[in-house]
Symmetry: C2
Subunit: 503 residues, 2 copies
Amino acid sequence: MSQEVISIDARTGEPTGVVGVESSSDDVAAAGAAAASVAAEFEALQRDGRARVLRAIADSLDADRSTIVELADRESALGQPRLTGELNRTAYQLRLFADVLDEGSYLEATIDHAGETPMGPRPDLRRMLVPIGPVAVFGASNFPLAFSVAGGDTASALAAGCPVVIKAHPSHPATSVRVFDAMRAAAKSAGAPDGVVQLVHGVDAGRALVTNPAIRAVGFTGSLAGGRALFDLAASRPDPIPFYGELSSVNPLVVTPAAAAERPEQIGRGLIDSATLGVGQFCTKPGLAFIPTGAGGDALRDAAADQLSGKPPGVPLNTGISDAYATGLDRLRKTVTLVAEAQPQAADSTSDMRGALFETSLDDVAGVLEECFGPTTVLVRYDDEDALLERLRKLPGELTATIHASSDDPFAAKLDATLRNVVGRVIWNGYPTGVAVSWAMQHGGPWPATTSAHTSVGTTAIRRFLRPIAWQDAPQHVLPAELRDGPVTVPRRVDGRLVLPGQ
Amino acid sequence: MSQEVISIDARTGEPTGVVGVESSSDDVAAAGAAAASVAAEFEALQRDGRARVLRAIADSLDADRSTIVELADRESALGQPRLTGELNRTAYQLRLFADVLDEGSYLEATIDHAGETPMGPRPDLRRMLVPIGPVAVFGASNFPLAFSVAGGDTASALAAGCPVVIKAHPSHPATSVRVFDAMRAAAKSAGAPDGVVQLVHGVDAGRALVTNPAIRAVGFTGSLAGGRALFDLAASRPDPIPFYGELSSVNPLVVTPAAAAERPEQIGRGLIDSATLGVGQFCTKPGLAFIPTGAGGDALRDAAADQLSGKPPGVPLNTGISDAYATGLDRLRKTVTLVAEAQPQAADSTSDMRGALFETSLDDVAGVLEECFGPTTVLVRYDDEDALLERLRKLPGELTATIHASSDDPFAAKLDATLRNVVGRVIWNGYPTGVAVSWAMQHGGPWPATTSAHTSVGTTAIRRFLRPIAWQDAPQHVLPAELRDGPVTVPRRVDGRLVLPGQ
């Protein structure tokens, strides 16, 4: 008998209705087969056709905005302002990838004409990136819109030309279905084949997707344990496929002695605002803050403690998260010193997640390197800059590192030179939460931050779902339009030289 | 007691001397640590410094040409003309990657200035690719120069800015040491730190390299079984690393009925020349040729049989290859029909590899899809074009596919549309052996041809050994030179627009 998929009101914990049933292994097999069967038709839409599809999906989400935001708020408790912003981001991402298609650099179109070389005669060679094939996307709990059904992974995979099978996150199934229906209808109206987007439900369905023979790549955001299990599954296939997972990060933030002396209260408050944003449920939440011993660091800590105490508790995305948070806090309480704690809203709201600020010394940092998902951060006091650098050098891979420095701060450059080796993004005098969607963004870092040297945010996320092909001495008519002779609308490398359209 | 590394004369099978001893696990650990310790210094050489290193290595190989070619010929029996060409190719690759560094597009330098966006204010973001860290390179037996110690993987990793630890192939240890010594001395003289290139010997050392914590990526060319074992090892690390392996391919070649009618003898001879080149020891050897039934196909087969009978047998790179070839031929003899066989050179040269041509029907092709490394190919006769397309659609991933067509041949476009989905390179009216080193080359295809959507030949091979970083609101002085304000010598994307140097 099929397991029902139930929508839960995050604030009350009460079920609000049955959304559907978990997908069977046959359902997943059918989804994979359907995705494979429409891949060529979807690719044949060309860049302009796919850009039209992406923009139509963005428009449809905009048009259904009030219902989507309302459902997402009920299922996630993230609040209408945040979710309205997230819907804006979701639509923006889709339109930005349409711009990426229009611009066309992502194809890496390259032509080497036949001719003599120091190695002897060379044939005509023409290379570009093509869709990798059907992609599985796992919705993330903490971004029910921007990293879920129509989120960044789906947008970049569709832009690349890949059909997408989405595994809905069980925390927001009603939102998932609503967004999916809007997306499917829009894609169809814009000329995409039926089956270019599909939705499945259930943990077993997710595992079946990763091993489905039609699936050529996976996009995932989630926990280290869950991500590692799926990564291993993808790698153990008879034909291993890339698993693009974003798994775990404590996002170290370092305050130099000069910065701590210069603006301790500002940094202390900013740190807490960032660590508690979205109830601390961001993958870029600063989980460790290295601050100097002494008066500046003390003032920073006191400001942070004060700021934290005033934060209201938040409703978790689901009880799994609040349970894990409780376990994480217990671990921290036994290991390091509790500095401040937010007050409970009401005596009976036991599942709410209350902020907590901890403190330890550099010598004891090894015990707090595990991510604790939720509104907490640990201050790590250091008094020796070289010892700090030595310790930072040994951090596991991280999504981000943040440096707070004064304007003329010789230590800061050393920090940058050290931290850049363990992260994907170095932030100066700011906070890691808030990941801009743009051409230059990098969201990903060495393992376990992510499973590969790619980004899941920003325009180059499309690269994950493409693979190169070269044609040798092929007649013009079988080449993709972008590789044919004559003027084209995309930048190309011709005989080694980059040529812009119109040149 | 350490196992000696012995150089064998490939033609006589006799040992010619002890080259060294197999590396211990301590040796490998020390090599990893040394590579990690010089990574920052090597990166700090910048693009121009590393280009100097690559050109110095190329010059040193040119200067030592006669000895290197002589050793390689003794150990591989590939002959001086081929090996002279291969040394040219090796030096050419190194210089081409120096050009790639000079040009600088590979950095993907991207700047998004701070400003307002539809998503709200955006910080200043600057992104580019940086070295991934120390790389392990496995020398390949079948290219003792161009895909071995100073070959394509090493050249692209050094260009990327990564120290390299090379696992010497046991088939040509003396060549490996000679090339390594020239490379190390040249790198040092050009300003690279000691330890930027290192050499280890032995199967155990290779496995230890793949799991060494300092190693951040692996380049490998070899068998499916060996490659899969190392791939699994890389994926099972506590911190999995990318394993760029090139494993197996039968490189289907398809002749349309029109082409078979038009030039059967030419294609038949060309096919055999390609399949027996280098004693059939190329990863792009055409192992399956789909030719039509009927008179054209028969004439093609007869020309191929005639061409094969005249080919002298060749000396294998090592006895492992000739043993595997003998096993493969036995399997083929039991499965399909032997059409022609080359004659043995002399009664006693039992280890020489003799060419063999087989024939089967499309219905029986499932039995011959496994690569048989050596001078043999199987003709697969088809009489139904749709059945052929259906069968080609189900091929495993291949490095290449080749289409022979007439100038006005409607079936050929359908073949291209089908074959492009299973390969990395589609060749028209030519042969897959001979892989040009250029900007547009793609050498790699879906699993099991390669383990990832990357190339190991051509300029984009560098991408395997790079990872992206973004800086957010960072001061100019900590940014890499290519991301600073003002004119630079590399193409950059600035606020979404591609800008060439001087614009």
